[in-house]
Symmetry: C2
DNA sequence: CGAAATTTTGATCACGTTCAACTTCAGTGG
DNA sequence: CCACTGAAGTTGAACGTGATCAAAATTTCG
């Protein structure tokens, strides 16, 4: 805790608001699969209605809410979860820098999951309506949204495999690798270590295990020298072995196809 | 098996190819949340490169393939699954009429899941490239794709809750309701009964349970008169109770916002 | 009709839960 | 500076659920 975080590029270096925007993890992510001009980005940023700092433990969405916003995470962790009748809790996904809060909640009549901040966070919010307006005017954003959503699908699918058929050891290995890999994609991790800024209880609710068992499993991962844990910092000692154990494969999205010329030939009559 | 299926509208009634196209379950689904003109639909159908009948047990996608198509299901069931190292199998989602095979596989460098036909199927296929072209020309399709993908996210999320924290009885109840509800959305089910055209082994791989346990659980659901099972036909005897047991809530997508006038006002300069 | 797949039932066992106690640590106030 | 507090991490013992293995019954299909 005393040493600085190597993964979070210190915000002071980016005083120019344009630079900061272009280094936003959400933008970093989108640019991984679609080419967005600075002009495009300006239009995107024009939609932002509020920029806010939010304290740890804040409820951002409550299961049952009607919510119609897209909220881009610049910094911090959150969890999307469902509280069951019997008091149990299942975390469906961790929300990291570059993710969108309000996905899928804003697209349904009523949000099916709650979202809570696990750490202090920094967020930019726009209305779903405005974003859709942008998609009509600049179709690349509709495609970007599709690609983004499909990445979510792939991540969620992996969680199903995790909770459905993987052993606790494999599950944990997979989850740690997934989080690291996603942080990396958003430009928020490097080296082979990162910070898990939450308790083992949270981990257990993500993995569908009990807290003691997560603890023991984490112990085994340490004992067998796959990882090192120091406070809330995790180091990968043998990534290859860990990836094999967790059957982990990093997600690689194909780029959104670029249409040469104006618009694809088969589409023809664009407007009336 | 001797009686006719009430849910599948007999294809003979729709001889006119235009009518048949407009009654395609994929179209039915899209029209649930976005307004598509017949003109739009014509453009969509122009993209279709092949229409095929496929036999039960066919492998449609194999984990690791490079696949770049969108394949719309008109009839039949398939399963998207992952085979694990130890021989276990997790079905991540059932693919029903109105679904897209190639989601998420076509959007990744390499398909992360296999897809196999569980029954004979009828499919229409277009290339991802062409579809993206259509999205550039008619942004409503990009939005439709986003909405579609987000519906997948919501379905997958529910599967995570299922395998992570629900008891086997709750899981099974939830899955049955989900399948019924999705068939209904595609216009392929009504009344309170439907056909599950696959074995209990398939069910077990979807639920993350063993075959004997699925069998016993199914027995309990029958014994306690939640459902009736006759061959592969399932009847809901008490939907309310079943929904409470499985904590099931039907998905309701919000309609894609309609932009009044030409294009949303804030977007301004449409073409540089 | 025979072969294979599927469903059903039973017995045993292991894994992970549950519950409980104890430790460690960070933060806070005396 | 130390005592107190509460949260989080750790460990242990007992229990129960669902897996596993095996076999029988039933259905499906060639």
């Amino acid at each position: 805790m005393s040493k600085q975080n190597p993964e979070s590029s210190s915000p002071d270096e980016l005083r120019d608001p344009c630079d900061r925007r272009r280094a936003h993890p959400f933008v970093t992510r989108l640019r991984g699969y679609i080419d967005l001009s600075n002009d495009d980005l300006d239009f995107l940023w024009e939609l932002i209605e509020t920029e806010q700092m939010v304290k740890k433990r804040t409820d951002l969405i409550v299961d049952g809410d009607e919510y119609r916003k897209l909220c881009f995470v610049e910094e911090g962790f959150a969890a999307r979860y469902r509280l069951l009748r019997n008091g149990k809790c299942q975390i469906v996904n961790f929300i990291l820098p570059g993710d969108i809060i309000g996905m899928p909640g804003s697209f349904l009549d009523t949000a099916p999951y709650s979202v809570a901040a696990l750490t202090d966070m920094k967020l930019q919010t726009c209305s779903l309506n405005d974003f859709v307006g942008l998609c009509y005017g600049r179709p690349q954003f509709g495609l970007a949204l599709s690609w983004f959503a499909i990445q979510e699908v792939a991540i969620y699918a992996e969680h199903i495999v995790n909770t459905g058929r993987r052993t606790p050891l494999e599950r944990l290995a997979h989850l740690l690798l997934e989080i690291y890999s996603r942080l990396e994609m958003a430009g928020k991790a490097s080296g082979l270590s990162f910070t898990l800024p939450f308790s083992q209880e949270v981990l257990s609710d993500a993995l569908g295990l009990s807290v003691p068992h997560v603890n023991r499993t984490l112990g085994k991962l340490r004992l067998e020298e796959f990882i090192n844990v120091d406070g809330r910092r995790v180091d990968f000692l043998d990534v290859k072995a860990l990836e094999k154990l967790g059957q982990f494969q990093a997600l690689k999205l194909t780029p959104v196809p670029v249409m040469q010329g104006n618009i694809g030939p088969r589409v023809g009559a664009l407007r009336g």
